[in-house]
């Protein structure tokens, strides 16, 4: 890592730390949403980006986390911090099971992507049908804003929590680029058959990475449930969350450390700026889906011009400088 990049990282870190003390609550919430989006994007990136196991249904882990902690807390009276750990364990377990079923059956590429989508749908229908999730009625967490309840009155703390999650996910991604495990994943992504020929236990590595990704995603689910204090099957297992994770990573750059963060900054920024513009610029006041239109145009441009995501801009510049 060059000195210039290191300086940029330190400045970025310092800016993120002091940011909530300089801006109003609304922008703190936007910052929180951005880091949260980056975190769940990184959870997807670990398996989808580094290991190349593209999934359309990561909401299955997100929802598992959201429901596990909520049920343990609301129905069984567990402390939310403890429930959070249990949710991650459950996310890991679901990740492990799905990976074993899918990879044992030899599913890869688009077949694996579709099977994850199917799992997310099955979980959503199950959550809609079984009694302990209260079905479509959803589950409400009692508002009691105390840190020991993982609820905070001041939006600064959810912001820092999301920031911490994002940092942890960046550390995990960084470790993947530096570890043998990460190297094996990249080998699998590039050519699974060649990786197997080199002696890599492809099945075991893929199960491990989906277990890790499941645990991370489940942590995001619990964070969401504690922030909004309500989960229902569509919120937890709906396609929206899967798409959000996939998009921030694709826009930022899949298989890179900072891709999901850059993608989250870009997409959250565009969404907020266009929503703000639609609210204050008279000519745009009646253009309600403005943010969606701009969102769509930007996606098309990125896919067309930057197929490796926004991170490829930095790579190009680095190449030019070299």
């Amino acid at each position: 890592m060059s000195t210039r990049v290191q300086i940029l990282l330190v400045i970025g870190f310092a800016a993120a730390v002091i940011y909530p003390w300089l801006v109003p609550n609304y922008l703190i919430t936007v910052g929180m949403l951005m880091f949260f989006s980056a975190f769940i994007g990184q959870a997807w990136n670990v398996s989808g980006g580094f290991a190349g196991q593209t999934s359309f249904g990561h909401a299955v882990f997100f929802g598992t986390g959201a429901y596990t902690s909520t049920i343990l807390q609301v129905t069984h009276g567990w402390n939310p911090w403890l429930s959070w750990a249990a949710a991650m364990a459950m996310g890991a377990l679901v990740g492990c099971l799905i990976a074993m079923l899918a990879f044992r059956a030899g599913l890869r590429g688009s077949y694996f992507a579709l099977i994850t989508l199917a799992f997310a749908e099955v979980f959503r229908i199950l959550a809609n049908s079984v009694g302990f999730t209260r079905g479509g009625l959803g589950m409400l967490i009692k508002a009691d804003a105390r840190p020991e309840n993982l609820q905070f009155r001041d939006p600064v703390w959810p912001y820092y929590l999301a920031f911490a999650l994002c940092l942890i996910s960046l550390f995990i991604a960084w470790r993947l680029t530096r570890s043998r495990f990460g190297a094996r994943l990249i080998a699998i992504r590039e050519n699974e058959d060649a990786a197997r020929a080199l002696g890599i236990d492809v099945f075991a590595e893929k199960v491990k990475v989906l277990t890790l990704s499941g645990a991370m995603c489940a942590a995001g689910g619990t964070f969401y449930a504690q922030k909004y204090l309500y989960v229902d099957p569509t919120i937890a297992f709906g396609i929206d969350k899967s798409v959000e994770m996939l998009l921030v990573t694709m826009v930022g750059g899949a298989g890179t450390i900072f891709g999901p963060l850059i993608g989250a900054i870009a997409l959250t920024g565009i969404n907020e700026i266009t929503r703000w513009a639609a609210g204050v610029i008279p000519a745009l006041k009646n253009v309600q889906p403005l943010s969606l239109i701009v969102y769509g145009i930007m996606l098309m441009l990125i896919v067309a011009r930057l197929p490796d995501g926004l991170m490829s801009l930095f790579a190009r510049k680095a190449r030019r400088n070299a």
Binding site: N25, V30, S129, G136, G138, L140, L229, I235, Q288, L292
Partner: protein, 408 residues
């Protein structure tokens, strides 16, 4: 020779100039805002997303109310202060609804109105409670909204519990007068909080009036094909089909049941999102004799009739979202009038003590208990020859219900 510049302004100069201009532009309304006395009201609806039509209708009603109140001189006890609406789009997403609450709080809103979808309303009103800002629910059926002990939440309209009770009472009396022709029912509902909650209550109460529930069928949002559900219903041969769904699914389900010739004694919906003028006028044969327990205006109110003409003249539909949002803004204005201030505590106290008479609705004066208005009641409507007529409550009814409906 010096290289000719493409632009006469340098990049740094442009950025610095833009910054000054942006700061000036952003600062100007603040100065202007200080000159005009106004009360900011946050109005949050899903104007994009899968319930965008309903959300837009709500925004239209709220806009009309703000215009009327301001035209009539604003809040007189506050020296004629005007209402200043700040519109927010929840995009049908919980987190976006909450972000709108935070944004509007920074802009100094005195109260919020919204949010159409119960999950968004639950989370958004929870966020508003941190600031003690009153949150008035215009549409949002879930009874969870007013059962959390939040002091800042007020709902004018009845929730699905009250709608089911009223619907069951009417259905029972209709059935008795028709020699108990209906002995069984199938319930079809959308799978979120509103539809599931309504269906659960119905399934529990129908056996109490001697109607057996043959099956409860849930469907997703959106669903674009109801053939399987219609065929299943036909095979079950119920006497009644009871529906609780949003606009598009309601219309599609009704049309598919008609196409599949599902012959029943009655279609009876609770909070049928698509039971409106658009539906009955576009599909008079499909909708003929369908009944719905829902929010409805008071047809005997001259003000409601005048408003209906106004809305229709613009080419829009006079749906319940319009007059509920209108009425809730009027309720807020009345509370501001009594509070004489936009102070949140005084406004909350004024809402708690409110005896506002919602002229457009078949309601009595407001009386809030734990945030739920006790004076609200749903209406029971029936589609007859391309029109919608109120058949209950008796004091405002326009017609007598036709039950059982003639066979197809």
């Amino acid at each position: 020779m010096a290289k000719k510049q493409k632009f006469p302004v340098s990049r740094r100069g442009f950025i610095a100039g833009s910054g000054v201009l942006a700061a000036g532009t952003m600062g100007f309304p603040l100065i202007g805002g200080a000159q005009a006395k106004s009360v900011k009201v946050g109005i949050i609806h899903p104007v994009t997303g899968f319930v965008a039509f309903a959300g837009s209708q709500g925004r239209m009603g709220a806009t009309m109310a703000v215009e009327d109140i301001n035209k009539a001189g604003g809040i007189k006890s506050m020296g004629g202060a005007k209402l200043e609406p700040l519109f927010g789009d929840s995009q049908s997403k919980v987190e976006v609804g909450v972000a709108e609450v935070e944004k509007m709080n920074e802009q100094g809103v005195a109260a919020y109105i919204g949010c159409y979808q119960s999950p968004v309303g639950i989370a958004a009103s929870q966020a508003a409670s941190k600031y003690g800002t009153p949150f008035l629910i215009d549409v949002g059926a879930s009874d969870l909204i007013v059962s959390r002990g939040l002091k800042n939440v007020f709902r004018l309209k009845p929730g699905f519990g009250a709608c089911v009770d009223q619907g069951i009472d009417l259905l029972s009396s209709l059935n008795k007068s028709a020699n108990n022709v209906a002995k069984s029912a199938v319930i079809v509902h959308e799978s979120s909080e509103f539809g599931t909650g309504t269906a659960k209550l119905l399934a529990g109460k129908l056996p109490g009036i001697n109607i057996a529930v043959k099956e409860v069928i849930a469907h997703d949002n959106p669903t674009r094909n109801f053939d399987n559900i219609a065929l299943r219903i036909r095979s079950l041969q119920p006497d009644l089909v009871m529906m609780s769904n949003y606009q598009d699914e309601y219309t599609l389900l009704a049309r598919t049941l008609y196409q599949q010739k599902v012959n029943v004694a009655g279609f009876f919906s609770i909070l049928g999102g698509g039971f409106n003028y658009k539906f009955v006028q576009a599909m008079p044969d499909v909708s003929q004799y369908m009944m719905d327990v829902n929010h409805w205006y008071n047809p005997k109110s001259a003000k409601a009739q005048e408003m209906k003409k106004r809305v229709v003249a613009t080419g829009a539909l006079f749906t319940f979202e319009v007059y509920l949002a209108y009425t809730v803004v009027s309720l807020l204005a009345d509370a501001l009038e009594h509070a004489g201030s936009a102070d949140k505590e005084k406004l909350t106290a004024a809402l708690n003590a409110s005896t506002f008479v919602p002229e457009l609705m078949p309601y009595g004066p407001t009386k809030f208990v734990n945030g739920q208005n006790q004076g609200g009641r749903p209406g029971v409507m029936q589609a007859i020859k391309g029109d919608i007529l109120l058949v209950a409550p008796d004091d405002v009814a326009e017609a007598k219900a036709v039950f059982p409906k003639p066979k197809l």
